[in-house]
Structures are given as structure tokens and as C-alpha cells.
Subunit: 329 residues, 2 copies
């Protein structure tokens, strides 16, 4: 596939500009309740930005198949609401203090209100989706949220302990790739795509989601707080083993392995420094390994688009994996 077939960031931005504005309006209308606390919390999260990657995928899936009805704006808002609901509950569970460079909602509104605001957002997402009167849409969304919630519980069971590569893959599928996949599937469903086309787009979302989360986990280790909008090495501080760590553990000396396991178990840099861990990862090329895995997922995502007819939307979809792999936050 020549690079000429791939769009630029500017092209993609221009291409989706009006659709994304329509989704923001929809999200803004949906996330309003007669109960002030809900409107405040959801408004706070809505305004804190986020890349709107999931709605963008849904839009591109629709438009690449020639669909341009307003249901894609409504369901675009729905996938962003589901995403936002998971963030609210995850921040409570992780005891997070920062999200996108601002205090996470639990620090401002307390855990109780945030449990309920997250519940409400899930319900609101389902309610808006229900208006489409499409059982398949509901099935995808309800199945998705269960996979994600179960994933969070699996993750909680594994905190402080090493995981295998396949366990890691399952965790990031549930955490991220599943929602990417469903966003693409919803686009296919709205466009009335045949099952084969839907599976191609699902494969794209799945592979892209894995790439996204592997890179997210690498950035958590290698970036800076000012760029991430939250403390660096948050995963280690929560006792979460990510791909570079899994790789390092498989290649480390006994002494190095002990150090990594100790940091995981402590969920803190008390006995070893953050720099000590980075040195071990560096020595075994573990960050490079993880980035190679991400690039392979990205390539698999691109290849899965062969089923699509040529269009500027397909060009945009081809660009997204590059963006995901090369991003800085």
C-alpha cells in the first residue's frame, strides 16, 4: 500500500470536522439531567477534551460504506458516553487524582457521586441507543459494557503480580480494543453492511485498539507528566504489569526480575527507583519490543481494510494506525 493512499492529520481533521461537531452537540444534549450533580460531572468530563477517537472510528466506518445519516452522530455520542462512564468508575477504582491534566472527578465530587454519575452515563448511553430501535445495536453495546466491566475485575485480581503475554492481551482487549471494535461494528450496522464487511471493520477496530493500548502503556513508562496529564508510571504505581514489563521479566537476570516483581508488589518506588526499572527495560530492549508489537497490530489493522472501496474515508482509516502508534500522549 503506497503512502499516497494514506491521508494526513489535517485531511482527517477537515474530513470529520462537521460530524464531530454534530456529535459534541449530541453529547452535550444527552449528558444533561434534572439532577445538578450529574450534569456537572458529565459536563466536566465532556469539556476536558479527549481525542474522540471512538466516535471518529464510528463515523469513518459509516462514511467509508457510504452512510451519512444522523444516527451516526447519536451513536457517536453513545460510544463516547460509554467510554466516559468507564473512565469515571475506573478513576474511583484506581484512586486516580489526575485525568487529562485536571483533577479526576472523584477528587472533586467524591466517590459516591461518581459511582452514581457513571451508572447514569451507562444508562443514558443505553437510552439514547434504544431510540434507534435496533436490537443489534443494543446487543453490541450491552455485551461490550459487560466485557469491559469484567476486564476491570480481572485486572483488579492481577494487581501486584506479573501476567503472561496472553493475559495482558486479554486485559487490553477488554479495556480498550473491544470498544474500538464495537465502534467500527456499529458503523457497519448503521451502513447496513454485509456480515463479511462488518467482520473486516471489526478486525480493524480490534487490532487498532490493541495497538492503541500497547502504546498507551509504553507512554505511561516513557513520557512525562506534563505531556500525559497524569503522573508517569501510573501503571507501576498501581501494580499493573504492562507489555514491556512482561517482556523484561522473561529476559531479565534473577536480580533484575526480583526488582521488577518488588516494584509491582509494592505498587510504589520505595525499594527501587523508577529509573532502575527503566534501565532494566532498556537493557533488554523491552520498550522497543512493545513498540514493535504495537506496529504489528497497526499493520494488521491497515491490512484488514482491503475489503473497503477506495475513498477519502478509507484513506483516513489507513492514517489512524500511524497516528495511534506515533502519538506522544
Amino acid at each position: 500500500m503506497g503512502t499516497a493512499a494514506v491521508a494526513t492529520a489535517k485531511e482527517v481533521f477537515d474530513l470529520l470536522h462537521h460530524d464531530l461537531l454534530a456529535i459534541e452537540r449530541e453529547f452535550g444534549r444527552d449528558a444533561v439531567s434534572t439532577v445538578a450533580a450529574i450534569t456537572e460531572i458529565t459536563g466536566y468530563l465532556r469539556e476536558s477534551g479527549g481525542k474522540r477517537l471512538r466516535p471518529s472510528l464510528l463515523l469513518l466506518a459509516c462514511r467509508s460504506l457510504g452512510y451519512s445519516g444522523s444516527a451516526m452522530h447519536r451513536l457517536g455520542a453513545v460510544v463516547e458516553m460509554v467510554h466516559t462512564a468507564t473512565l469515571v468508575h475506573d478513576d474511583i477504582i484506581d484512586g486516580a487524582e489526575l485525568r487529562r491534566g485536571r483533577p479526576s472527578p472523584n477528587t472533586t465530587w467524591g466517590n459516591s457521586r461518581c459511582v452514581l454519575a457513571g451508572d447514569w452515563l451507562y444508562m443514558q448511553a443505553f437510552r439514547v441507543a434504544l431510540n434507534e430501535r435496533n436490537f443489534r445495536v443494543l446487543e453490541l453495546l450491552i455485551g461490550l459494557t459487560q466485557v469491559m466491566v469484567e476486564g476491570e475485575l480481572l485486572q483488579a485480581e492481577k494487581l501486584g503480580r506479573p501476567v503472561s503475554e496472553s493475559e495482558y492481551n486479554e486485559l487490553i482487549y477488554r479495556k480498550t480494543a473491544c470498544l474500538f471494535e464495537v465502534s467500527m461494528r456499529l458503523g457497519a450496522v448503521l451502513a447496513g453492511a454485509d456480515r463479511l464487511t462488518e467482520e473486516c471493520l471489526a478486525e480493524y477496530g480490534h487490532a487498532l485498539g490493541l495497538a492503541f493500548q500497547v502504546v498507551d502503556d509504553v507512554l505511561d513508562l516513557t513520557s512525562e507528566e506534563a505531556i500525559l496529564g497524569k503522573p508517569v508510571a501510573s501503571d507501576l504505581r498501581e501494580g499493573k504489569a504492562t507489555l514491556a514489563l512482561v517482556h523484561a521479566l522473561a529476559h531479565a537476570t534473577a536480580e533484575e526480575g526480583e526488582a521488577i516483581l518488588q516494584v509491582l508488589a509494592d505498587g510504589a518506588f520505595t525499594q527501587f527507583r523508577y529509573q532502575d526499572v527503566l534501565t532494566i527495560l532498556d537493557r533488554h530492549g523491552s520498550i522497543d519490543f512493545a513498540m514493535d508489537v504495537a506496529r504489528k497490530h497497526a499493520e494488521r489493522a491497515r491490512r484488514s481494510l482491503d475489503c473497503l472501496p477506495e475513498s477519502e474515508y478509507k484513506r483516513a482509516l489507513l492514517w489512524v494506525p500511524d497516528f495511534v502508534v506515533n502519538r506522544e500522549k
Copy 2:
């Protein structure tokens, strides 16, 4: 309406025995996940009993209209799952330590797991309901959960402060009566009832639910821990003003009013004893007032059944308000 038209407890129990067993089996099948923590938490809650009042209402609504299909067992399990999900999240929010005489799940599994287990139960309820392929069923359930979640948030806003009688009524509608109402409506929907009949049954559920919660709140003030399965006066300890308190505040002397407001604001019996509050309530007949209100709701529930044809199921529905008002826990 003569008493001959009203069933006895034994008759109602025998009448629903097989249907309730079918619902238990359904609930047992539904509340299982590949993630162990979910199956453990939901199993714990399922086995801790509970009166299964909501599924019983759904069954009686169905059968009083001549419906006896298996969907009533599936949706019976659904309303109990929704109820259970709200209990799990409420116990986190209230910081409860006991539920039905046993440690509340958050004390055993921690808040994080319980947030997620509650999420999962909501989703599972929707997933099972989705299988009925009936948009109206989904609309009722999703709307219901939002009303309940918003109610919990409204309640949180009012902790430590007095409320008006109409605010109290809104809170208990959202907390309890709405689910009673929806249980009755779902029965009507399954039975294919006309809109007028559905509204009669909805009115019954609504009034019965108000009666139930008013009595629940009275029992919280007047019963004993051994009977309630949780500490007496939990509401006051959480800063919740219930109907007897609302009444007392409207009739109390300035000094008595100060005492009640202080207990509410403290959410504890530090400056005044529990017995002091009871004495004030007693002096103004506030418990009797609340029980009178409950009896009026119960009477309204019974009257709303005039639309139903005579049957043993109608007789059972006529008995439930008596049971609700005269129960000891």
C-alpha cells in the same frame, strides 16, 4: 371490599411457590460470570434471601391477567437483579456494614469490586431483558434505573438536612416505588394488557411502593437490630430525614426542632441520644402519623385493583398491602 376477597399469607405463598422457584433458578443461571469475583458477590447476595417482593408483584400482575408464559420468570429475575445492583451500589455509598443480617458485600470484597459487580448486574439485567426482543420492556427498565440512580444522587444532596414532605415523597418514589411500579407494568406488558389496565396496575405498584418505604423508614426508627438485620436508626446515622421526622419538625417546639436538626447534621447520636429523638416523635404522634400515611397508600393500592377481574391472584394482590404495612422487618 370484604375480607373474604383477601388472601392469607399461606395462600399467597402456595400460589407463587413454583413460579418463585423458577425465578430463583433463572436468577442463579443469570448471575454467573467467567469472572469469579462477580459470581461470588452475586451469589452471596442471591443467597442472603430478601423477600423477592418485586418478582412476586410481576408474577401476580401477569397471572391476574391470565398470562403464564416463561418470560415472567426471566423478567422476574431481571427486576431482582436490578434491585440487587442498586443494593450493592447503595451499600458503597452509605458505607453500610450490614445487609440482611450479614456483612454487606463492600465490607468483604471492597468498594472497587462492588462498584464493578453492581455495574455487571445492571448490564446482565439488560442483557437478559434484551432477549425478550421487546423495546417497551427495555424502555421501562432503562428509564427505571435512571430514575433510581438520580434519586440516590438527590438523596446524597439532602443528607444532614431536613426535607419537605413532597421532597420525601419524591425520594421514596425514586428509591422504591418506581421499581414496584415497573414490576407491575412489566407484568401488564407481558400479558398484553391494554393501556388502561397497565395504568391501574402501575398505580397499584406506585402506591404499594410508597407504603412499603414509609413503613421501612418507620421500622428503621422503631425496630431492633436483631429483627432488621442492620443497626436501628441507620437513616439518622446517615443524616437521612424520613417521614416521621418531617412530621415532628413541623410540630416540634423550637428546642425539640434544634435537637432533631442537630442529630441530622451530625449523622450521629453524639449530642442527643436516640431515645431523645424517639421521645420527641412520640410526643407529637409522628410515628402514628407516618403509619397512617402508609395505610392510606396501601388503601389506594387496593382500590386501584378494581379494574382486575376476580381471581386468586387478585386476592393475593389485595393481601400484599396488608403484609407491607403490618410487617416487622
